[in-house]
């Protein structure tokens, strides 16, 4: 789907339209109030806005969904960040006795940015991305999502496209929101395999025994390695990248001659694998180098600082990226391989779509009718009809499904709480 040409200069005109008619406020509020299980959860949440001319305001908080809507429609923020749930309303933090205003809870979040892979991708660098290197994000999501679910038992994970060059994950389970700084740091460490900066050549070192987490992650990498690394990134093709790979191979591996003679990438990689297998049978040192290479080129690179702090602010889902115009939309993990960041709608596209009548509008009347029964608010109905006419629809649907999944756990919680009260 082509995105209407986006021009950052149009933002001042597009944002008011977006916030008045398209931003999914009721779903957003539904998310952040978490079923009303905890009092004042929404009211004590910090938001930060970046306004026109780079003016940044922190400690924004709102008492109701309607207040949130009005403020956002008034301020038309260029960027929206979501922070922690505090002990008091963030907008009143100055009136609170020093030391008592504290961040209490927040989702466990992860930020994966394509620039952190610059040393291992040859197609793009810095803020650029393309379909070839996007596979890195696919791999990252598959690996991390599995670990968060199977190893840590987290059920409610929301993956979001950042709008330009990466993805974010919001883990919304109650247990996740209550994690301490030390716990977040431990989870992040557990999930980190690629370590070191410019000064480090070999960024992944594996020792015996290979932890099940690493084996599971490797299984994912292997699924994509041939197409991504050998074909798209041409790892074994041009001299520069070959040299980089060979720098990661132990010195005592003697296969260079054969390697030079072999020109086919797949066969070259096979040579490396064979050598690795042979070494694994013999000595104990440096025996996993073929795994280490695959991980160094493909394993997710996390920005640890984002995940460790309880009070860290992260870009909000459904926020606009001012440089690309793209909306930060949820990613449907069940259709992960089909996700294309270049077909994510821009704010200009969806605003334009608002004005166009859509042919499928007729087909939706039966659904609309049912919603007319359920929705009491006329404005709500209009809002739903609005976004359904745009490319934003499927992403909001994805978000709804995510919220439905969480709602089942809230119901249980509320019942439990009311039971406790009845016992008195």
């Amino acid at each position: 789907m082509p995105s209407s040409d986006y021009d950052p200069a149009c933002l001042p005109d597009l944002l008011p339209l977006y916030y008045r008619r398209l931003f999914p406020f009721s779903q957003y509020y539904r998310w952040l109030s978490y079923g009303g299980v905890q009092k004042n959860y929404f009211q004590n949440r910090e938001f930060s806005f970046t306004l026109k001319d780079d003016i940044y305001v922190r400690y924004q908080s709102f008492s109701t969904q309607s207040e949130l809507e009005k403020e956002m429609q008034k301020m038309n923020p260029y960027k929206i960040d979501v922070g922690a749930v505090y002990s008091h309303r963030p907008s009143q933090h100055n009136t609170v006795k020093s030391g008592t205003f504290q961040a209490l809870e927040k989702e466990l979040v992860f930020d994966i940015d394509m620039t952190d892979y610059d040393d291992v991708r040859s197609c793009c660098s810095a803020a650029d991305i393309c379909s070839k290197c996007w596979t890195l994000m696919t791999i990252a999501i598959r690996i991390l999502d599995r670990a968060l679910r199977d190893d840590f038992g987290f059920q409610h994970r929301l993956w979001v496209y950042s709008g330009r060059r990466g993805v974010h994950c919001w883990v919304c389970d109650e247990a996740a929101r209550k994690l301490s700084v030390a716990a977040r740091s431990a989870v992040t460490e557990y999930l980190s395999l690629v370590k070191g900066g410019d000064e480090t050549v070999k960024k992944v070192v594996l020792t015996e025994p290979i932890h099940p987490f690493i084996s599971n992650s490797l299984d994912v990498v292997k699924e994509y390695f041939s197409r991504y690394a050998l074909q798209d990134q041409d790892l074994m093709g041009n001299k520069e990248s070959v040299d980089k790979v060979l720098a990661l191979v132990p010195e005592d591996i003697l296969f260079l001659q054969e390697f030079e003679k072999e020109k086919k990438p797949e066969k070259r990689w096979k040579l490396i694998m064979t050598e690795a297998k042979r070494k694994q049978g013999t000595t104990k040192k440096g025996q996993y180098f073929e795994k280490e290479i695959m991980l160094q080129y493909c394993y997710p690179r996390l920005d640890a600082n984002v995940s460790k702090g309880v009070n860290h602010l992260l870009k909000s889902p459904f926020s606009v990226h001012p440089k690309t115009g793209r909306i930060s939309v949820p990613i449907d993990v069940s259709e992960l391989d089909k996700f294309d960041p270049f077909s994510v709608p821009t704010i200009s596209l969806i605003c334009e779509e608002l004005d166009r009548p859509r042919p499928s509008e007729e087909k939706e009347t039966s659904e609309d009718a049912k919603e007319k029964e359920d929705e009491k608010d006329a404005a709500e109905k209009r809002k739903i009809r609005d976004y359904k006419r745009t490319s934003l629809a499927k992403y909001i649907k994805c978000f709804d499904q995510f919220l439905d999944g969480m709602a089942r756990s809230w119901k249980g919680e509320l019942l439990r709480k009311s039971d406790l009260q009845k016992e008195f």
Binding site: A186, E199, H211
Partner: protein, 501 residues
């Protein structure tokens, strides 16, 4: 606790039960009366013990034989062997006294908790497995064990998750299922199997869990203690001693600038080669080459420069002149970077005067990633690159090998100390116990500057030995009425003990 002169109650039945075991979680405070002098003696001796735990922890890998035998020796020397009733009582009381002194600030708490945890780890490890289990049960730590069926089902994963676990171990030993939040140390280092939010821990690793538990309880207790502090401080007999105890520990954190303005900007290049530790030399070089440093590097290097005596004006000039050579123009510098430099000096925002990073902090927190130059080269650099760098800095091949051996053994600060010795041409004995980059600088300047201060350094280690047992009891014989003079003497004693150059 009530304080009066020279009355001692005999142990109640609760106490004798409490002191029936070697080790305790310090859950209950002591209920008896003790004399003021015993109060002071106990506190000082425990502090010496914890200080020893700290310095041993830096010089040796924890729980190696060397570490253990040295700590054992110190425990005896300071009168803390825990096999007798009296000594366990001393352990109990002294711990609680130090809580009063160390609960007041984040830094003090962190230090106290770290040393108490290390001490506990040593003492718990010394118990035999039966005693360990007994301790766990007595303290209501009933961790859930998993069934044999589950063990067999997960056998391969369990074997691959922990070092030293074989099929036989799985069959014959207990495995505990614990929420991962209670096993953070094992999770962090990926030394345990995780499934659906639970960590499956072999019995041999249960120590880590217990330590975590100990740490958490102590942390909460200190927070509570801090709230009741005003009441304690109102007791005039205690306040001076408690104050002095908490000031004595830290050694130097280089937060108070001593030589402001004594360093000029044009000296920095040559100083970086002569007196900077490798981490700062690396940062300085990267800054000169790239005319830029990322945030982590600016913080680590900027605070170090503050610690060696750069004033705010000098710092601003230094960073600006370098950044301008790069892609940043003067306006952008003032807009984007000047604020954070002023922040470092405590002139913005919270106005906290940030302290230069210690080695512990550099090694353990904020590891560098792509494009960064901060961190500890001995910890974070590829050994090959480290070797090349040392060659460029003209370190001898045998010296480089010694350094690399230490790095392999994860003794990063010792490696840096070795680098100091090699670049300053001194032998091992003259070196100090390195734990702060600014300390490295100060020591280097002393060596290169003059011999005067070196003599003082050699004096203090001897006094350490003299000061341990004898002075305590003799001081205790002073009359309580002369308490202020007495406290002054005690504090002098503490001062000289803690004088790390």
């Amino acid at each position: 606790m009530q304080f009066s002169s020279r009355r001692k109650k005999t142990g109640t039945s609760l106490q004798s039960e409490l002191y029936g075991q070697h080790l305790q979680f310090y859950g209950q405070p002591p209920l008896e009366n003790i004399s003021l002098s015993e109060f002071e003696t106990f506190a000082v001796e425990r502090l010496k013990l914890l200080k020893t735990v700290e310095s041993l922890g830096v010089s040796y890998v924890k729980l190696t034989d060397q570490y253990k035998s040295k700590l054992e020796k110190e425990l005896k020397a300071l009168n803390f062997p825990y096999s007798e009733f009296e000594k366990r009582r001393k352990d109990h009381i002294s711990h609680f006294i130090l809580r009063l002194a160390y609960c007041q600030t984040e830094d003090l708490r962190r230090w106290f908790i770290q040393q108490e945890v290390d001490l506990f780890r040593f003492r718990f490890g010394d118990l035999d497995p039966k005693q360990q289990l007994e301790f766990l049960h007595k303290n209501n730590l009933h961790y859930v064990t998993i069934s044999s069926e589950e063990k067999m089902e997960l056998k391969d994963q369990l074997i691959n998750s922990s070092f030293g676990i074989s099929g036989i171990t799985v069959k014959e030993h207990e495995f505990y299922k614990v929420p991962f939040q209670d096993a953070l140390d094992l999770v962090r280092s990926r030394k345990v199997y995780l499934k659906q939010g639970y960590a499956y821990i072999p019995h041999q690793d249960i120590v880590t869990i217990v330590l975590n538990d100990f740490r958490t309880r102590l942390s909460k207790a200190l927070a509570l203690t801090a709230r009741s502090l005003p009441a304690v401080h109102s007791d005039e007999r205690l306040q001076p001693l408690l104050n002095h105890l908490s000031h004595a520990y830290v050694g130097q954190d280089y937060s108070i600038q001593k030589n402001v303005g004594k360093i000029s900007l044009d000296q920095i290049d040559s100083l970086s080669g002569k007196s900077f530790p490798l981490c700062m030399r690396q940062l300085h070089q990267a800054l000169r080459e790239n005319h830029h440093l990322r945030h982590g590097g600016r913080m680590q290097y900027g605070l170090f420069l503050k610690g060696i005596g750069l004033s705010l004006e000098q710092a601003l000039q230094f960073w600006k002149s370098e950044f301008i050579r790069g892609k940043v123009d003067a306006d952008k510098f003032d807009k984007a970077y000047a604020y954070s430099i002023r922040h470092m000096f405590g002139k913005e925002g919270k106005r906290t005067d940030y302290t230069p990073y210690s080695c512990m902090k550099v090694i353990l927190s904020n590891p560098p990633s792509q494009g960064d130059h901060h961190g500890c080269p001995f910890r974070h650099s590829d050994p090959e690159l480290l070797k090349q760098k040392l060659q460029v800095y003209k370190v001898s091949p045998s010296g480089i090998n010694q350094i690399l051996e230490l790095v392999k053994g994860m003794h990063y600060q010792l490696a840096c100390q070795k680098y100091f010795e090699l670049t300053h041409n001194v032998s091992e004995d003259a070196a100090f116990s390195l734990n702060h980059p600014n300390q490295y600088f100060v020591e280097s300047q002393k060596l290169l500057g003059g011999g005067k201060d070196v003599k003082r350094e050699q004096e203090t280690p001897q006094r350490l030995q003299e000061n341990s047992a004898p002075r305590g009891p003799t001081a205790a014989q002073e009359v309580a009425a002369n308490s202020s003079q007495h406290v002054a003497e005690m504090t002098e004693d503490l001062d000289s003990f803690f004088q790390d150059a």
